[in-house]
Symmetry: C2
């Protein structure tokens, strides 16, 4: 049934000398370890990242244990009895009347094809000309045409994800982040919002506080609040979360006044933070990690915008000259710094391929990924097999790691252009007397500060909230929608000193961005009587 | 952008007189109300089932309110601030720099095609000959080719599901179940296991008991247990859950002895129950509903096997002569009996199309579906758009309701053949001295009772568990895997009087089923020294 290891085709291998001297941090070395292991291709076959990690991983020290922060709910989860019985299926000749899996003859999809871009022709126009159509059939595995097919993808799968895609995601994680401990694992999920919901349930109890940026992703806060989990706001600067502010909150934590134990979990968006667009420098990340070590805080890094790190905001900077250079100029993730195994990375295809895939993954130490897997088994089970096989065909069979990195470079340049369009419009239109901003270096958000105390209403006693709402409405009336900064406040008990509006450059085309900023500018001029 | 109402093509309309005299319970009437409403086709457009229900629905009384059973977690959920801002997007000419939705130019799928069966040629062989290939392009909506496309499906969507598929599911629900109250709603989810996990979080508190069959779906129990929710076992007979036993448990509930309030939630699988294969008759369902009314118990009906209701187990029964006859011979769901709006129906494509779609839906009163929607917004967000558009192309654009019912009839006959193969094998091989069973009328499970007290070990003092394990192992040693009945016990504190093994006829081909039953039979003969 399962093609042998040597059938595995390794895309993107441009330097075969790497096969001799494997370096796990480069894609050229991939062939060396990939070729050693076959992919389990049976229906609902078990797999884990260890099958796909390079040998170098296993020489590193193991992660710390996190028993003291695992929730009562997560502690109580046991492996499924029925899934345990699957062990017996490995015996040769065993016939199973056990699991209630439908027969693939009753899946009404014989083939699924997709037309996808051929690197380097990534644009819609180029794809129309040079795009390739790839097809998944129902029985490609049996017929030796592929490692993955509809018979498997359309049936039930394991919570960790289908081995075929888990392999790609594991390799990608090693290439980009090279975690500095041995027993890290990936597990596919159904989107980072769900990963975060699960993280709260696996790592927190009702009544806990979590630490997060003073302006934080609204949905992340709204996910925590109904679970009885409150946010302790940590001060920010133009690099996002401040390590000194984090230390201060933790050092001065007053359990009695707060009515809660000292927080043990930091939620942070290190790159292109939502809503501020701020990006933590490499130095800042190391500082934050050190503070988390000092106070034994576990880190959840939510990194949808990691590959939306952009070119510097100045003319004439050439794009990365190679994939290796591209990888080198990326900021280190917390996972890359994670000597303790104290990081849960929420990774996602939503901002780099398509949100509608609803396929994402987490990376953490084996102990925690095992608890998350038990959690997923009794909730979402696994990400859609239709989406998983589409991503496998695209990423593994067609593009390979090299093609995917090329795509990410293409995306970097595309977002750089969008960001530049936004900043040019702001420079052209926004009244400098009352607005200021820092050019974003990652993500999809531009965070515009408004000097609200210069608003005529301020002298008349209008509140921060009233002035913010007035500006928002004035912009709406002129046909331009930006988000109010106050919508993103982690702790609404702390009075707001500054005022911000969030504008995204991800969606609208350049001329619309320009027009929307012009309208917002008109609204500001009217409001501030400029 | 959005095609007008009259562009909507109604598949499966064979009787145009129905357009004059609409009867909401038949598919022929569908055109009459479908044609009245356009489908919202914008990116992440809001929709709900009311847009797609027949006018007759709204003349019925409204559901009861369920404030008294909604959990603290669910009560605390608020509508998203950011999603609230989307209201402004309806204003003509508004440019949004609000939501962080990626631009579709960066989705690397230009087209997705699928080869699917053409009714009535549903088999794999027929599909190879007469199957049709249908294609979703990126901009079909803009270009007037379809109501749904990849630009929309691959972006973020609403938690309720994309309107295009929500419409089909709503119509299907009305055709099959015709809920007897006005304000029912459907909401797509990512599989019934997740719907159940959500139901526990929306409707229960830690420490609660739920009511369920004494042998119950193991994963459903494993989902409840880590949330601190225990199962109160209700006695069963060959029709599954006993109404009198349910009344007894509720009437004699001793809150002090149990350490929990009287249960307010029943979890039941009415058709082809897992693991017993039992199916509640129409009369039984009405009795159970009445007991639930008496004790104000809310019902969760988990119905993955509803359309695996089979032909009677006797030779020469002709298949349903028409779609109308097929609909008439289906047992009434609890939803169909639900005058109070006290039923949450968990519906799913897993057993009738493909589990790998990870697309399912719930039906309940508006009040509860609204709470579930808030829950999904902060967890899974929405089912995969890739799977949703594949199902839309198949079900709505190609098959229509008529074709889908034809498929379900095809499946009914296919499962009837499989069930018959299983029963023939059992009749041929199993030792009658120690085995007995009831022919299943729905689902994928055959529940075999073993007269364990006749086992030689019984006289020697071996326990129920030891004898069950011994038989299980003896069968494994002969290469046949069946599930132990005890794996499915709702309350392990109650001593087991009987002994069962569960065998599925869903997956293995006929000759393998025969061989596996033969091996199990050999194991029994050896164990019982027959």
């Amino acid at each position: 049934m399962s093609p042998s290891a040597v059938d595995v085709d390794v895309k993107g291998v441009t330097d075969t000398t790497a096969l001799v001297a494997p370096d796990p941090t480069t894609i050229n070395a991939l062939a060396a370890w990939r070729i050693k292991g076959a992919v389990p291709t049976g229906t609902a076959a078990l797999s884990n990242s260890d099958m796909f990690k390079s040998p170098a991983c296993f020489t590193k020290p193991k992660a710390k244990r996190w028993d003291h922060i695992i929730s009562n709910e997560a502690k109580a989860r046991k492996p499924s009895t029925l899934k345990g019985a699957a062990e017996y299926l490995k015996r040769p000749g065993m016939i199973s009347l056990g699991g209630g899996l439908p027969s693939s003859e009753n899946f009404p999809f014989e083939e699924i094809s997709m037309k996808i871009p051929s690197p380097p022709g990534f644009s819609e126009e180029e794809t129309r000309v040079s795009g390739r159509t790839v097809t998944a059939h129902k029985h490609d595995i049996r017929e030796g045409r592929s490692l993955f097919d509809l018979e498997v993808a359309l049936n039930y799968g394991q919570a960790t994800g289908f081995a075929q895609l888990l392999r790609f995601v594991t390799e990608h994680t090693e290439i980009v982040h090279t975690p500095p401990y041995a027993d890290w694992q990936c597990c596919l999920t159904v989107g980072s919002t769900y990963s975060w919901d699960s993280a709260l349930r696996v790592l927190c109890e009702r009544g806990d506080y979590i630490l997060t940026e003073e302006y934080s992703f609204a949905s992340a806060l709204e996910t925590a609040q109904p679970l009885g989990i409150r946010a302790a706001a940590v001060g920010m600067d133009e690099q996002g979360l401040r390590a000194d502010a984090l230390d201060e909150v933790l050092t001065n934590w007053d359990s009695k006044a707060r009515g809660a134990r000292k927080p043990h979990l930091l939620y942070t968006v290190p790159s292109g933070q939502n809503p501020t667009g701020a990006t933590q420098s490499a130095h800042r990340r190391a500082e934050v990690y050190k503070v988390c070590q000092k106070h034994d805080v576990y880190i959840v890094e939510d990194e949808p915008y990691y590959f939306l790190q952009m070119q510097p905001y100045k003319a004439g900077v050439p794009p990365p000259s190679s994939r290796d250079e591209f990888l080198k100029i990326l900021l280190p993730s917390f996972l890359k710094l994670d000597v303790d195994g104290r990081v849960l990375r929420l990774d996602s295809f939503s901002k780099v391929l398509a949100p509608g895939s609803r396929v994402s993954w987490i990376v953490a130490s084996e102990q925690l990924v095992e608890r998350f897997t038990r959690h997923f088994e009794c909730s979402v089970q696994n990400a859609s097999g239709v989406a998983q096989i589409a991503l496998f065909k695209l990423l593994d069979e067609e593009w390979g790691h090299a093609g995917y990195l090329d795509w990410l470079i293409h995306l970097r340049l595309s977002y750089t252009r969008r960001r530049d369009d936004m900043l040019h419009a702001c420079e052209q239109y926004l009244p400098k007397e009352v607005t200021s901003w820092v050019a974003p270096t990652a993500g999809m958000f531009h965070w515009i500060e408004v000097a609200w105390r210069k608003h005529p209403g301020f002298a008349k006693g209008l509140s921060h909230a009233e002035i913010e709402e007035s500006i928002f409405k004035a912009s709406i009336d002129r046909g331009s929608l930006l988000c109010q900064g106050s919508w993103f406040r982690a702790d609404t008990n702390i009075p707001e000193d500054k005022m911000f509006f969030r504008a995204t450059y991800a969606a609208a085309p350049a001329n619309k961005i320009q027009e929307a900023i012009k309208r917002f500018s008109d609204a500001l001029r009217a409001e501030f009587a400029l």
